[in-house]
Amino acid sequence: MAPWLMVALLLVNFVLMALDARESSSGKLVVRSWTQTVADFVQSPVTTVSAAVSNYFSSIANLRSAQDENTNLKQRVQELEVELRQKDGLSNENERLRSLLQLKDESKYKVLTARIIGRDPSAWFNASIINRGSLDGVTLNMPVVTDGGIVGRVTAVSPLTSQVDLITYSKSGVGGIVGEVGATNALGVVVGTGKTDILEMKYVPGTAEVEVGQPIFTTGQDGIYPAGLKIGEIVNVTRGSATTAHKIEIRPAAKLNSMQEVGILLYQPPQKPEFEQRVTPDQKKK
């Protein structure tokens, strides 16, 4: 009995894996989205309770340093007040100039805030689960950001939750540029290394000027992330030559290990021209 049951269960698992692998390439993750939805009913309340307990104990621990922090914060408030007055002046000036140029103040993308309700239970992957799903308007490949910089993209969507693959995942790739878009020609691809605190930028021409400490921004050419979002800062450069590319190590701008809340950009990349779109096998046959 047991050997037959084992064979049957292995077959079930194998079919699940095959379906999941097929779905992940096609983008329609039906099986995964439903299993996630079922799991969410248990995971979400448990995470809320465990987070509350964890926060309670950490708040007790933090009380010790609260007095020092209070002094520092008072000083910081004073500094910020001065800064705010300066910015008020700049804002007024900006308003005047805008009205002169008759520019409309409109934000580029809508941001949907989400809470991280779970992290990957397996040590082999580093995905995060957020509490927004297709019912909130989230779709596959939407960029996820924090106030620091980009976090990753949505890789699976269920009605109530979504799964986010971080930019540090070794299979992720983001089109990046050293410095502001249009200011330099140091374009490349930022890929994950599997480590949580280091990214790697590839294909930057060896002749391009790059320095440690320079910021890296998205170019918008990958068809997922809009241009101008901060990816991170250069921490190490292995210089290339006229024929070899630089090898650049980047520290992500977003605090990927400690983030609690993220923003999902409800952004749809512009449609590519027809010649750039992928040709399906059926079209090839024709």
Partner: protein
């Protein structure tokens, strides 16, 4: 009664696996469902162990970035091997069970990594690094959980204790041939 205890244990194990990484990163290296599956397989009830393995594996995979069913597959194989081994070899001693947990952890890592490679999915970590840390975490966690589960089943506590620290039997031998008077 044993079945109810193990069912509750596997549910708690899955919930812990889902949530403990939020509390501390180290817990990702302790494979709670695998520990309970190994424990269930050592009870010589292979059908229960196989069902636990598949269900808990799929539950963990549902919230993971990996392939759905990969953990279920690896844990089912491990459950079957251990259940069959437990029927043939004496493995009721805690000292003997520690290498079993270690072996299960290593096999789990190798199979999980291999399956993902086979399906063209690259896991985020290296086999050696994650395999080694999982081995340490699962072995420590497994030993403690095994002790706890043994202690909970109070009826079995006394024999287990005796088996755990089995004393060498000292038999008094008498030489039937007397060389001297």
């Amino acid at each position: 009664m044993e079945g109810v205890k193990l069912t509750i244990a596997i549910i708690i194990a899955v919930v812990l696996q889902w949530t403990l990484r939020n509390v501390a990163d180290f817990f990702m290296f302790v494979d709670f469902p695998l520990i309970i599956v190994v424990y269930a397989a050592l009870q010589r009830n292979s059908i229960r162990a196989l069902l636990f393995a598949t269900i808990s594996g799929v539950a963990v995979d549902a919230l993971s970035g990996g392939l759905l069913g990969a953990s279920g597959f690896t844990m089912t194989v491990i459950a079957f091997i251990i259940a069959e081994a437990a029927r043939r070899v004496y493995l009721d001693n805690l000292i003997l069970r520690i290498p079993v947990i270690a072996g299960a952890s290593i096999l789990n890592s190798v199979l999980f990594f291999g399956i993902h490679k086979l399906f063209g999915q690259e896991p985020a970590g290296s086999l050696v690094f994650i395999g080694a840390y999982s081995l340490i975490g699962t072995m420590i966690g497994g030993t403690l959980i095994f002790l706890l589960l043994d202690a909970i089943s109070a009826g079995k506590l006394k024999p287990r204790k005796r088996e755990m620290f089995a004393q060498r039997r000292q038999t008094r031998r008498r030489n039937p041939i007397r060389l001297t008077k």
